[in-house]
Symmetry: C2
Subunit: 470 residues, 2 copies
């Protein structure tokens, strides 16, 4: 396929073909959004023409169906289990990772570090050198978390004996999975594998998991949609800020932890651990979005993204209308605010499955609910509002469950429409933590970053190829 | 004293005399504040002239000192105790109530109901009739909570055997007190005294108090300033919305509750009770403000209010510069949003010590942090911002501890300056729950109400009389 520079001629055709869409844009918040001008994307004009003529009659209908499914999704935490016995398709030689598929030789530092740590945690290796040898040997297989219904922040490594949360989409019955959040500092997800990291993971298996599991069983289920909706009213966007979500979770868990207590010491340690880790809820908000979006997969012709994920080397997306195919581009090094002593030179390219929150209308898309994040990276409350407002123009609709108080409780922008991304030449924004490029150092910054455009261009062109007439 | 209608002549004099103050106003947010025009207040022009000529050289200096003390205050929860043995001046025949001083015959329905309930709780009466007889007999004495360092929401009744929280101003050493919050529904503070109300109060004494007391002792102290500051970042204004504050409190208490547990059943019941009552934190945010403001009492010439409180009949204020004198006016019936089946005809005039939160720069003054409250009463997020912005023009300064995210983390308006209230003809706004005028029915509405102007006019004139030259 020859990719040609999109000319203004083609843009006009798009606007003619997408008249309903253009008037829709005009009626929303376009006027208040302050978007830098960027050069038009390189998109195959044949694809543009195909999409243009099919948008209203075919694609928009499919998107409406996808959005309805997403809006009707209802994520609930229903239990916990060991990955091997819980995640369908998991096996002892398999390691799940964040982002699109990747081989050992292409993995970035933090992901390699996390794989090394996981192999030592699994007692498959005694030293990092042994682990590295095994990791590269071909015995160990690698697959994206996303392909097995799971999600993982940063390196996103899940190995067979790790405990995972089980989240159910109560409306459609599908499940999703995520490990327990380790906290900040030296942690596996940032590629650390020192003895303290492995000891914490073992404590999380030995103590945290059974204590939480009993409490969750006692409660039957925990309504994650309700917790997320409340957290948005309490200053979280449930990606980089999870203080409210974690607080509300503790509130709900505490009586059940007592009811099911076997050891005061262990239960106290669990409460202290969660209380000491405001990101604990992230590993529930992520799979909550995952199971809601998974229900909207495989709707022919839909241009809505159901996955955005990064493996630290590549950024990949999947569309509802293009099956299990990944569309990827190089992951960008975030233009973030770096912690004292660190700079962009230290940063790993963007990494983690946590962009599933943005895909689900949260995170950067809901950042107007969490101005503290924007302030942290040098912006102000008006910037936070602008970020969220701009995302309405690349989304097919709005959430019926998640609202932004500062926008008069308007639903968050929901259903990233790759056609709108291309037409508006505007990529999704993502709240992100920045990992050091070397394993084990941890977080070196945070920011609001833009997705690369390449995966969206590829997905747009692929959808054009796959368009089915009714 | 002859009170004359304030003429435009006098207003001009004020503006000449308060030049620095006027320019200060102009440089702030006056332009964006949308204030209804109201007729000028009736203020004695002699007082206006006195205040006018003394403002810059004398009053503003005193206010700066008061504001500094308020900003340096640091409220911490340090323990609990039984009122009789804890609140200096408490005795067996004394009942403390919300607002300025009042006698039994003048008390409104909800306050009478709460007194009846308290006397039955104290086993001083077996029936409501006996209690009413005793209440009117002269044996029982009544005094404002505020005069003994305490505060109470709504009727604000504290009797001698009730457990109270002890809050310390860690900077200045003074203490304040409040009972434990009972939750919603049929509760003493709304004037209910049915058996379920008394049984709940007894459970709060028998179970809630000792369980919490042990946990607080174990923790040593709980930093309420930090909890309030965080709650403002999480959608609370800690008067009518305390969901975040209550969540953060549970989070901090839970591990200590386990460490000090004597009965799993009791501790579980305590966690369930607090988890079921989002207003639990109100009875900590109120005394937190109280002890901070009490430290700024008795600064000669200061026109800053250290108390605003309502007893359901009268609204009273106290100024730092006018000692223990109350300045009162009729409490207004709130123009609130009424619950289905109720109207303004059912409403009791404004009641409760909870306006101490507004006096401390929170509640209505911080409502921009809690747009959910404004939405509840039919407004929008912009209204919430306007409410808070307008309060800057009647405050002497801003909080250095409490911030509004949506205003780019600007400090909340702090230090109500009675001179600015008069000059701007703008009274404080107060978030409030509305009690039914009859005892025992409970809350019938909620809203954002205005203070009556009369107490401010009286306080202004009294300050003029008491002005001391340096």
């Amino acid at each position: 396929m020859v990719t040609l520079k999109l000319k203004s001629e083609a843009l006009r055709i798009i606007n003619v073909g997408l008249e309903a869409f253009a008037s829709d844009l005009a009626s929303k918040d376009r006027a208040v959004v302050n978007v830098d001008w960027r050069p038009p994307l390189d998109v195959n004009p044949i694809a543009v023409n195909k999409i243009s003529s099919a948008y209203e009659a075919v694609i928009a209908k499919a998107n409406a169906e996808a959005l309805k499914i997403i809006n009707q999704g209802k994520p609930v935490l229903i239990g916990m289990g060991i990955a091997l016995h819980t995640i369908p398709g998991m096996h002892k030689d398999l390691i799940l990772h964040a982002g699109p598929p990747i081989t050992w030789d292409k993995m970035c530092g933090p992901m390699r570090g996390a794989v090394i740590g996981a192999l030592m945690y699994e007692n498959r290796a005694e030293t990092p050198e042994e682990a590295e040898y095994l990791a590269a040997s071909g015995i160990i297989k690698y697959q994206p978390c996303h392909e097995l219904g799971a999600v993982g922040p940063m390196a996103g490594i899940i190995s067979s004996s790790m405990p995972v949360f089980i989240i159910k989409n109560d409306t459609y019955g599908n499940l999703s999975y995520a490990t327990q959040n380790e906290g900040l500092g030296k942690v596996l997800r940032y590629g650390a594998f020192s003895p303290e990291v492995l000891e914490r993971l073992r404590w999380m298996d030995r103590v945290l998991y059974p204590v939480l599991n009993r409490a969750i069983k006692h409660l039957g289920q925990i309504d994650l949609q309700s917790l997320i909706a409340q957290a948005l009213h309490m200053g979280d966007e449930v990606h980089n800020r999870n203080r409210a979500g974690t607080s509300l979770l503790i509130r709900q868990l505490a009586p059940a932890l007592l009811k099911t207590m076997e050891s005061v010491e262990d239960t106290t340690a669990v409460l202290n651990f969660i209380n000491g880790n405001d990101h604990f809820f992230l590993n529930l908000s992520m799979p909550a979005c995952k199971c809601v979006l998974d229900a909207a997969r495989n709707i022919p012709n839909s241009s809505i993204a159901v996955v955005m994920a990064r493996n630290g080397t590549e950024f990949g997306i999947q569309l509802s209308g293009t099956g299990d195919k990944w569309y990827t581009g190089a992951a960008l090094v975030p233009d973030a605010l770096y912690f004292p002593g660190y700079s962009k030179d230290d940063a790993n390219p963007d990494i983690g499955d946590s962009a599933i929150t943005e895909t689900g209308g949260l995170g950067g898309f809901a950042i107007a609910a969490a101005p503290a994040i924007v302030q942290f990276v040098g912006g102000n409350a008006a910037d936070a509002l602008s970020y969220t407002r701009s995302m309405y123009s690349i989304c097919f609709g709005e959430s019926q469950k998640y609202q932004i108080p500062a926008l008069d409780f308007r639903g968050t922008p929901l259903g990233i429409d790759v056609v709108k991304v291309i037409i508006n030449n505007m990529v999704p924004i993502i709240d992100t933590g920045v990992a050091h490029r070397n394993p084990g150092i941890g977080q070196v910054g945070a920011g609001v970053v833009k997705a690369p455009s390449e995966p969206f261009v590829k997905a747009f062109e692929a959808l054009a190829d796959m368009l089915q007439s009714n």
